[in-house]
Symmetry: none
Subunit: 120 residues, 2 copies
């Protein structure tokens, strides 16, 4: 479990550059790089801030490795597309999210139904 590698994986999965993430954190890009590359021993609060900016809770951050081993099997092209989605306008992003959300809701409903049917 390497902090830097984990951070890098999550950051890249979100399609953020070091500069962008450091901007969100109000941290110097150079310093973020040093943390990610393990050249420095960051403060506790720095790690907490980074985790938050990446949308992870602290313990999630340290489970991220496992999560990623699942995800690694995923389609790379979808990954690329998601990077591009992030570059879209807010309204367009929201549209996509809404579509995804409703599809997911639909799937859940379907799963619940078939589960209910199989137990009867």
């Amino acid at each position: 479990m390497n902090l830097g590698k984990t951070l890098k994986k999550v950051r890249e999965a979100k399609g953020l550059s070091q500069k962008e993430l450091a901007g969100l954190l109000k941290m110097a890009q150079a310093q973020y790089h040093r943390i990610e590359s393990g050249k420095t021993d960051p403060s506790f609060s720095s790690v907490v801030k980074i985790a938050k900016a990446l949308g992870l809770s602290f313990s999630e951050l340290f489970r991220a490795d496992e999560i990623f081993s699942e995800v690694n099997a995923y389609d790379k092209t979808l990954m690329e597309k998601l990077r591009l989605i992030d570059a879209l306008d807010e309204t367009e992003k929201k549209s996509i999210y809404n579509i995804v959300d409703s599809l997911i809701a639909k799937k859940k409903l379907k799963d619940n139904l078939s589960a209910a049917l199989s137990t009867s």
Copy 2:
């Protein structure tokens, strides 16, 4: 619940004095006190060491620390969305791909246009 209070609870539950724990950590007792009382922002490695000395994994140590606010789908990270999309049916995945593709194409067109306009 903050880091210091968590540490204190666990330490006392184990019947360790600050001096004893600091000894295990090879850390100055005064410094351990500053961490426990929140007077300092410890290094990441310090917290890791303390967690280990207390016999806790990271997620155990910080689960209580985290605020589990229920996030809506829109706030979820792209990574999480990626996992959810992958769980959909093939036809639904394809639909999303198509929508994303057209939005991206539209965005590229727009960007190229505005770039062309600004340079003229």
